[in-house]
């Protein structure tokens, strides 16, 4: 029996992920060792520190280009950029998750196992501090996302997918209010997510059969010079794509999104809308650009149809929504469509513009959900649209900020939404996908209507009796909201630095 030789491991390049997984493990210990009263502060500080440390290491590592651990992980420009984006957006999500001032005890349930509606449940919803396990769970999810965008073989990618998905399933179920809705959302997400994972795994198997390996570079070579039936290739590609499209919430694999976004605790919704999107599109970009570039003419029309369908579905269904979180969910679906337009440019411009879009959208959507978490009454958040009537009269600053974010979603110039849309549409026209751009423009018109309706509701409608009070944001939410808005302005007015950054980072290695 031959001696088992360890492949060389570049620990420095892997450090950000290792730090986050380490922090997550320490976080679990903190749950046991630290008294309940101070856990929230300790956990928040620990996790934030971990994220910041990981980000610092990432910045130090920014010039590393290496494929390590036997080809399982590739650290290259897109990896580092996307990991950085996930970490920054993750830190902002953590601020929202750690907020305890807006609602006594925070947005999370104190004991998830208590029967909904029981006396104990009523008691805990009023006074008891929320679970702090959410912090290690978030750290695990973040670590998994970092690995997901760096994974250079499909098996590692699958493991990373599970590592970041499982904590998310759990986090979705932990809302303090409307717990049945939250649990239903989690179950739905878990079941559908498992199906998607199964598809993904089956696809890996087929591709292994086709290429004789799971590394993206091996698949790339096999695509260039096929040895076996191409049925395996196309079947495998389709199934792997389904897994990724599910996570990116592209139609027709988007149906979970509105329910989950609505049911999950709002900070978690924000986390999913910002970070999961980055991770999912990061992996999609890598798989398509690195492994399947050789069959681009085959998948481009199919994925193009999916992108068009996604934009259309998101835009049309957003018009009919009456719940703010669901509206934002459909908006995020439409945005996934726009992102896909950028992906399908299949060029360096496509890559860089998609990355730009991910960051721009992430900040805007975090700010949007931060505001949703502030509009509340004694029963928790007031997410029904009718409750937002006349909010501009009561709290002009908040309504002004939200208006600005909505204008950014609508793609009005001087917001990040416009520069981002311009970037992806420009790349797509260049990549010969003009028809997708026309779809994008038409759906942008459609989806402007629901945004505008909210603006009208906030400013031009008279406040009703049921218009809820707007909570004064706690320090953490203020920071997250402030950063989100400032970045949305900055990327709209002076986008050049970030564009340059994405361009420098737009080179995959195999």
């Amino acid at each position: 029996m031959g001696e088992l030789k360890l492949p060389p491991i570049d620990y420095g390049a892997l450090a950000p992920m290792l730090i986050l997984f380490g922090v997550a493990c320490v976080g679990v210990l903190v749950e046991v060792l630290v008294p309940r009263k101070s856990r929230n502060v300790v956990q928040l500080a620990l996790t934030l520190l971990g994220v910041v440390a990981a980000f610092v290491v990432l910045v130090i590592n920014r010039d590393i280009r290496v494929v390590t651990i036997g080809g399982a992980v590739a650290i290259d420009g897109p990896t580092i950029f996307l990991q950085g984006a996930i970490l920054v957006l993750g830190a902002m999500s953590l601020l929202l998750i750690g907020e305890r001032q807006v609602e006594a005890g925070g947005a999370f349930v104190a004991q998830a196992a208590v029967v909904v509606g029981s006396e104990k449940d009523n008691r805990q919803s009023v006074s008891q501090p929320g679970l702090t396990e959410v912090f290690p769970l978030t750290a695990f999810a973040l670590g998994g996302m970092l690995l997901f965008v760096a994974a250079n073989d499909l098996l590692t990618m699958f493991v990373a997918l599970e590592v970041f998905s499982l904590p998310l399933y759990l986090l979705c179920a932990l809302a303090r209010r409307r717990r049945l809705l939250s649990q239903e959302a989690a179950l739905k997400y878990f079941l559908l997510g498992s199906y998607a994972s199964a598809f993904f795994l089956f696809g890996i198997a087929l591709l292994y059969g086709f290429a004789g390996g799971v590394q993206l570079s091996v698949i790339h070579e096999a695509v260039a010079a096929p040895q076996r039936s191409e049925l395996l290739l196309y079947g495998g590609l389709a199934l792997v794509a389904i897994g990724l499209l599910f996570k990116s919430a592209l139609a027709p694999f988007h149906v979970w999104t509105p329910d989950v976004y609505q049911g999950a605790p709002t900070p978690i919704t924000a986390f999913m809308a910002a970070c999961t999107k980055v991770a999912a599109f990061g992996a999609l970009l890598r798989v398509l650009y690195v492994a399947f570039e050789g069959v681009r003419w085959d998948f481009q029309p199919v994925l193009g149809t999916i992108a068009a369908l996604t934009m259309l579905t998101g835009a049309i269904l957003a018009v009919t929504q009456t719940d703010m979180k669901r509206l934002l969910a459909y908006s995020s679906i439409a945005n996934a469509g726009y992102l896909m337009v950028g992906v399908l440019a299949l060029s360096e411009d496509g890559l860089s513009s998609t990355m730009f879009y991910l960051v721009a959208y992430g900040f805007a959507v975090l700010a949007a959900f931060a505001i949703v978490s502030l509009v509340r009454d004694s029963d928790g958040e007031a997410t029904h649209l009718s409750r937002w009537a006349g909010i501009g009269r009561k709290s002009p600053l908040l309504a002004g900020v939200f208006t600005f974010i909505l204008l950014a979603f609508a793609g009005i110039p001087l917001t990040s939404g416009f520069t981002a849309k311009f970037a992806v549409f420009g790349a797509a026209v260049e990549g010969g996908q003009t028809w997708l751009v026309i779809f994008g423009v038409v759906t942008s018109m459609l989806i402007a209507f629901p945004y505008l309706r909210v603006v009208v509701l906030m400013w031009l409608s008279e406040p009703g009796e049921s218009t809820p009070a707007v909570s004064i944001p706690g320090f953490l939410t203020s920071v997250a909201l402030g950063v989100g808005v400032v970045v949305t302005v900055a990327l709209g007015v002076v986008p050049a630095p970030l564009i340059d950054l994405t361009r420098e980072a737009s080179q995959f290695i195999r």
Binding site: P413, V429, A448, L452, V456, S461
Partner: protein, 513 residues
């Protein structure tokens, strides 16, 4: 002196003004009004200096060039430059805004909305307006083109009357739809034009565009501008917006903002896509002529004063349209002059109507009747504004309307002949409106409205005087303006590559021989 960065300073002044006015607390409304007026007067002063500094006989069509890097990786810059067309439009803006601010002095007093916000929005709107005319980079132009919706949206939605929410949303969506078509076309232009937004470079690149592509791109831009102008059949948002907006804002809406559409066609559609412009010209002419007749007929039937004025201005935009697409120097110059005169005349008309509406508390024609007996001065101004609007000889619009018809007649006789019917209809809608509101027996209800007994106040006299003066002066001596416009129009037509039957030949009756 020409080294002074006129255009960027001119653009930024109202923005600074808007911010400063927005910072004034709500309780100090009078201060906010004064500050807003002050800023708009500073803008006016600077524009006058710029007008003087503009060299009429220069070889350079574009003057006051400025260029600052913005997004290098897309090659988008803050490029400013003005030709004669842009210059007269900037001048119009600079004149109209102080007048409108003064005219809107008491508009917000009765409402529960904040006065500083209203005047800050007006200045913000001036910022976007100046920017859109001063930009010489298509990306920058587009940014202003879209952003200008936002202040106007809130002005209509928050400070308007009647169905203001509906009107505001309709206005925003219509314009946004046009804007997005233009966005798609702009991206296409950027990609095939060699990754530049610079106007001059694109005109150069435009000569080698593929014919079909150029036509599609033209259409993208044209739809955006046709909605903005608005041309028939994209006009339905204007009567709603004009009817719902406060009178001062409505004057700006039709007086200045709608000119962006016709200006855009002249500045961007024609030079960038000359072949496509010629190809689409018959269709555009038909739309314009239909607009003239159709909108005039609708104006005759209106019972709401503000909607009526909105319809008249759609008819006027038809005239501007035929002047542009006739591709003659006279037609083109006439159109640009029309844009200026229409801004003055319709602006005045809207402002005077606003004064009536503010007194009566209603904008319905049927709520008036014989008002001239109570407020003879105001009725006189309305009469003058009406006559200017129907292009009576001696008032400025006559010159432009005549030039447009003359220019059109030399190349497109049938259109000119049909358009002339519009003049007759114009007389009908204006005179009938005046007859029903100010002439005849006094409506007894008016006697019971105390405000209806106050004739022009000093403030109102100051508001209408400059506009009346300008309309008369330009009616008799339009040369200073036409001298500025002419070279730019000729350069535009040269870009389009159409033969101009020389004006003397037309005058001699030897056209085409």
């Amino acid at each position: 002196m020409t080294d002074f960065p006129f255009l960027s300073v001119l653009t930024l002044l109202p923005l600074a003004g808007a911010i400063s006015v927005a910072c004034i607390p709500r309780a100090r409304a009078e201060l906010a009004k004064l500050v807003a007026l002050g800023w708009s007067l500073v803008v006016l002063a600077l524009s006058i200096v710029m007008w003087v500094a503009f060299t009429v006989d220069s070889q350079d069509r574009f003057q006051f060039h400025e260029k600052y890097a913005w997004i290098p990786s897309w090659n988008a810059n803050f490029t400013f430059a003005a030709d004669g067309i842009a210059l007269v439009m900037l001048m119009l803006i600079a004149v109209l805004f102080p007048v409108v601010i003064l005219a809107s002095w008491h508009d917000v007093d009765q409402s529960r909305r904040s006065a500083p916000t209203y005047f800050a929005l007006l200045l913000a709107f001036e910022f976007t307006m100046i920017g859109v005319f001063a930009a010489a980079d298509i990306f920058l132009f587009y940014v202003f083109f879209e952003v200008m919706l936002i202040p106007m949206y809130f002005i209509i939605g928050s400070f308007g009357s009647g169905q203001k929410q509906y009107a505001a949303v309709k206005f925003f969506l219509y314009s946004l739809v046009g804007g997005l078509f233009m966005l798609a076309a702009m991206i296409g232009l950027w990609v095939i034009g060699g990754h530049t937004f610079d106007f001059a470079a694109l005109v150069e690149a435009g000569k080698s565009f593929d014919q079909d592509t150029a036509r599609w791109l033209f259409l993208g831009f044209f739809v955006a501008f046709a909605i903005k102008a608005p041309f028939f059949p994209f006009h339905t948002w204007l009567p709603d917006s004009g009817g719902a907006a406060p009178a001062g804002a409505a004057a700006l809406l039709v007086g200045v903002m709608d000119k962006v559409g016709t200006f855009g066609i002249l500045r961007y559609c024609l030079p960038l896509f000359p072949e496509a412009s010629r190809w689409f010209a018959p269709a555009a002419l038909v739309l314009a002529v239909v607009g003239i007749i159709y909108a005039a007929l609708l104006a005759v039937g209106q019972n709401d004063l503000k909607r009526l004025v909105s319809y008249t201005s759609i008819a006027h935009f038809g005239f501007i349209g035929i002047g542009i697409f006739a591709f003659t120097t006279q037609g083109g110059t006439g159109s640009v002059l029309y844009m200026v005169n229409h801004g003055l005349a319709t602006g005045l008309l809207f402002i005077v109507v606003g004064m009536f509406v503010a007194r009566r508390g209603s904008s319905l024609v049927s709520d008036f009747g014989g008002a001239g007996k109570l407020v003879p001065g105001l009725a006189g101004v309305l009469f003058f504004a009406g006559l200017a609007s129907l292009a009576l000889p001696g008032t400025a619009p006559f010159v432009s309307e005549f030039l447009v018809l003359l220019g059109t007649f030399s190349t497109h006789k049938p259109y000119a002949v049909i358009a002339t019917v519009g003049i007759v209809l114009a007389a009908a809608y204006v005179l009938w409106m005046i007859q029903r509101t100010t002439q005849g027996t006094l409506n007894p209800v008016l006697d019971e409205v105390p405000a209806m007994k106050k004739d022009l106040s000093l403030r109102e006299k100051v508001v209408v005087a400059p506009l009346i003066l300008l309309l008369l002066v330009l009616g008799f001596y339009p040369k200073p303006v036409t001298d500025v416009i002419n070279p730019a129009v000729q350069a535009t037509l040269q870009d389009v590559g159409t033969q101009d039957p020389t004006p003397t030949a037309v005058a001699d009756g030897k056209a085409g021989r």
